[in-house]
Subunit: 146 residues, 2 copies
DNA sequence: TCAGAACACTTGACATTATCAATTGTTTAC
DNA sequence: GTAAACAATTGATAATGTCAAGTGTTCTGA
């Protein structure tokens, strides 16, 4: 192991830069979400709901207690942005599904992330491709549970 | 302007990839913070405190109400991780400064971000440099207030 | 088979984080 | 030198987070 034996200065700088960009993108996302009457957490949940997802899986993705998810989904369901559906193969599980309205609102939130979008416009196609490939290489390692 | 006239599919994919990496890094950060008895927000504040920072500036960085910062700093101060200092040139302002203990704990949190750190190890020096340069180009545009 | 462990979700109690409206004290601008 | 603007705090309230306990369902192994 020893993933962090003696980090190069360059590596620390890169981590800091990644953090700064992550923070900036999060700000952009949160602002767009607020513009549609969603809290950051609610928007984050909607963004995860590409397909049906058990409550437990959501808790894992959000890295929070399962009981927390209950309340978040309660509020989203009260606004008709998601539905709870029983899982056909396991009666313990409830799958959360975005409604049409929920999909619509998160699509609009994504469209309104202008700071992020505008920043990406400053890269030419070749640079975009390079960036995409490097980040794609990075992704699997970062998503490993520590 | 029209930052979002007709987004290329590639651009949307790049945004999604950036979001995924930002999320993964945040998870890593939050887990390391929790390991040291800090909430994500508390760790985020400590991470910003390279030098003295007025409460108001912190609220701007966190994109939240100033009154929220009061409580967060109260709790950090109760644990001796930060100090409030009067601003010599403006008596309205209180500058927040990390204590030695505060600097120490956030340093350790950064050192324990193993998922992020490990992922960066998969890039060779040339790739790291390329990534750094591309992200550095991206950063200013993303930090613009939307 | 069937008793108990493990699991998914919920509830209740409580701390933290967030917003807003209102207050106090201090500049700044006219 | 007063009025507007500002920095920070307080108090009320909602949203998010944790943990412990409880219900119902599934899995495991003797």
């Amino acid at each position: 192991m020893s993933a962090t034996t003696s980090p190069t200065p360059a590596k620390l700088q890169l981590m800091e830069l990644l953090a700064a960009i992550g923070t900036a993108q999060w700000r952009d996302f949160a602002a767009a979400a607020a513009h549609h009457g969603l809290t950051s957490t609610q928007a984050k949940v909607l963004a995860q709901l590409n397909g049906p997802l058990p409550m437990r899986a959501l808790a894992t993705l959000l890295v929070c207690d399962a009981s927390n998810v209950t309340g978040i989904i309660d509020r989203l369901e009260a606004r008709s942005l998601v539905r709870r559906e029983p899982d056909p193969s396991d009666r313990r599980v409830k799958n959360v599904v975005a409604t049409d309205e929920g999909r619509d609102i998160i699509r609009r939130v994504r469209e309104e992330m202008q700071a992020t979008s505008g920043a990406l416009d400053t890269l030419d196609p070749a640079e975009s491709t390079t960036l995409y490939e490097l980040l794609a290489r990075l992704r699997p390692g970062m998503e490993k549970s520590a």
